[in-house]
Subunit: 387 residues, 2 copies
């Protein structure tokens, strides 16, 4: 249970000031005091501590507003680094990032087909070694490793329980990496990592309820409320790929029919195209559907427009359940955004419950794009540092 102690009081203020500098920096001590309501002496004391911890640094002097020039404070970006790993179903990506999402090193490998747990973990270890070698002289600044793993993940133990795409089961990621690198390791579901990446580095500022929907081979989402990821009683928060939007339809990988995922994933788009278009090629992919649409082939445009409508329905369901302040769309399917977004927006205007929601529901395309997940993985460590 939360207890009111001096440490609590202090950490609340420290967190507020650190995040003010992170989000509003460069900023003076005086402005921090004004904007947070914390008194100037307290701000000074805490800033001194943050500088001692190598998290904050003084930069140039600001403009005088009629008196002494303010000393502007900034996050000390290169004071610490974090490693992010994006373990997808086809490749493993790793990066080294600083505190504000600058990528200092990057590496990627393709996963062997029919890989074993051992081979998979060896590949992951190797990619991390590669990026570490690129910052060899600054390795001691690395705070930890965050892993975004596709499929079902047990967060506490850091074990990847199950992946329908690779067939891997019970991969002890956290244990293996902690032993190999002697660094703290956090493992997270890929959609939730993506949400953290987008929120942390997408420059949105503070948003009370922030939701990122990842539409690719599968559909997942991450919900961030008051700067914190939501998990739910059984870690199912955000599994909107398996929300039913139809009483019938194709069988989903989860065994049910009617799942949102079976209507809007990459595979679903291919299936729809083949059904709607007689002369569709056998080796059609979602990428090709988009390519044909861009070439102006109306049949393929219709396929994407239909998909856009269905994505809109899924979004409305999310709006009528948790009503986020900001919804961000990402993942492979959203590369076709130019054909999807108009339909998504129209569906929202048609179906949202109130005039206010029709007008104010905010849906945008991911600002970070492909790197959102791997940066989010890295940011998993930052969350602990900053809160």
């Amino acid at each position: 249970m939360l207890r009111g102690t001096f440490q609590l009081m202090k950490s609340v203020n420290k967190t507020a000031i650190l995040n003010k500098i992170r989000l509003a920096g460069p900023i003076s001590r005086a402005d921090i005091a004004k904007e947070t309501g914390i008194t100037p002496p307290t701000v000074s004391t805490i800033v001194k501590e943050l500088m001692a911890e190598n998290l904050v640094a003084e930069s140039r002097l600001g403009k005088s507003k009629g008196g002494r020039k303010p000393t502007l404070l900034l996050l000390k970006e290169d004071g610490s680094y974090v490693i992010g790993v994006d373990a997808g179903s086809k490749t493993i990506k790793a990066i080294v990032s600083d505190l504000v999402g600058h990528v200092l090193a990057r590496a990627e490998v393709e996963i062997y087909p029919h890989s074993t747990n051992e081979a998979f973990l060896e590949q992951m270890t190797a990619v991390i070694r590669t990026v570490l070698s690129e910052i060899a002289d600054q390795c001691e600044k690395v705070l930890g490793i965050g892993v975004a793993m596709h499929g079902v993940v047990e967060i506490e133990s850091g074990i990847s329980l199950y992946s329908s795409k690779t067939g891997l089961r019970n991969v002890p990621i956290k244990e293996t990496l902690e032993a190999a690198f002697d660094l703290p390791v956090t493992v997270e579901n890929n959609s939730r990592a993506m949400a953290i990446g987008e929120y942390w580095f997408g420059d949105y500022g503070y948003i009370q309820r922030f939701s990122v929907i990842n539409i690719g081979r599968g559909v997942g989402s991450g919900l961030i409320v008051n700067d914190k990821l939501c998990y739910g009683a059984q870690d199912l928060t955000g599994e909107i790929g398996h929300v039913s939007i139809s009483l019938d339809g194709d069988v989903c990988s989860c065994g049910n029919r009617g799942c949102f995922e079976t209507f809007v994933s990459g595979d679903a788009i291919v299936k729809r195209a083949k059904k709607m278009i007689q002369d569709a090629p056998d080796d059609l992919t979602a990428e090709k559907v988009y390519a044909f649409a861009k070439e102006g082939k109306t049949d393929y445009i219709h396929v994407l427009e239909e998909t856009g409508k269905l994505i809109g329905i899924g979004i409305i369901n999310l709006v009528h359940t948790v009503n986020p302040d900001q919804i961000v769309l990402g993942g492979g399917v959203m590369k076709s955004a130019d054909f999807l977004m108009p339909q998504i927006q129209q569906t929202i205007r048609e179906r949202a419950l109130t005039e206010k929601a029709k007008a104010e529901t905010k849906v945008v395309i991911s600002k970070i794009g492909d790197d959102a997940t791997v940066l989010g993985a890295a940011a998993l460590l930052l969350t602990e540092l900053f809160y």
Copy 2:
């Protein structure tokens, strides 16, 4: 922005202690200290204040565990009262309640058909006067009035914007009642009030994510996370009656097709029965469907079983979106629980995404029943008092 101040520290501890007494009382100061982690002197100081504020009282002595007998503390139930009003589409109910949900007085009127705003507000004022007159000698103990209003409500202004059932629009409830009684007034949506009532007086203890689904003439829900109601960006959190579970279906009052509400509301049950049963009477109601089912008429049992399945799908959608720790079902339709619940439970076991969720998803029938909404309205005031 949250600030670390002495007031914060104090209020955190005061809230923790007050709620410990509320939920775990009768309890000794020593046990409060042990269970909250707050030190005994601090507990004593704060308890002294709570007693001075008439919120807490000493009761009998407890059993000695080998030393001095503990003085047990209890909520001073009759120190303050609150008024709750449940303004449905047919009647207005009002009660006076103490701090633990004991009803001291109660009154109810039927709303005039085609009522005007003025007549409606006059009826509401009259019902409140009636219950107040019953506790005439203790009126000064009343802290305020909470109103649970059906339809769309603007919470800040306390205006009822729109009701499809009565046709009323822009009823200035808060303003009118505050002028009439000179007491603080809070107006809330009926499903959210029901959630608060169930959570506050249903004796569940602390539940991190608590959801109440109200299935009656319409379908709504309330979500309580960390003891607080969730609203969302446009106050749409919990509008699961308008989550799409089908790509076609009957037109909903909101104008869309496929809404959850059009499959499981009272009207939907009647429609389903008429469709499935050739000789169904013209004046069939949901109550009658239940009565026939109880008489053993299998056709009607099937209608309810089908409804149970669909409710199950709606619940699974909620689980895969916010994954509550506890889901409570209430409202008129749930009077048929004996036919609905087995199907609901089975659907959850069939469709939940993981084994853990199949086994652990907790769905129960409202413990409070009909009074949940009106007690929740009253509890709106208590929320402020206790947090």
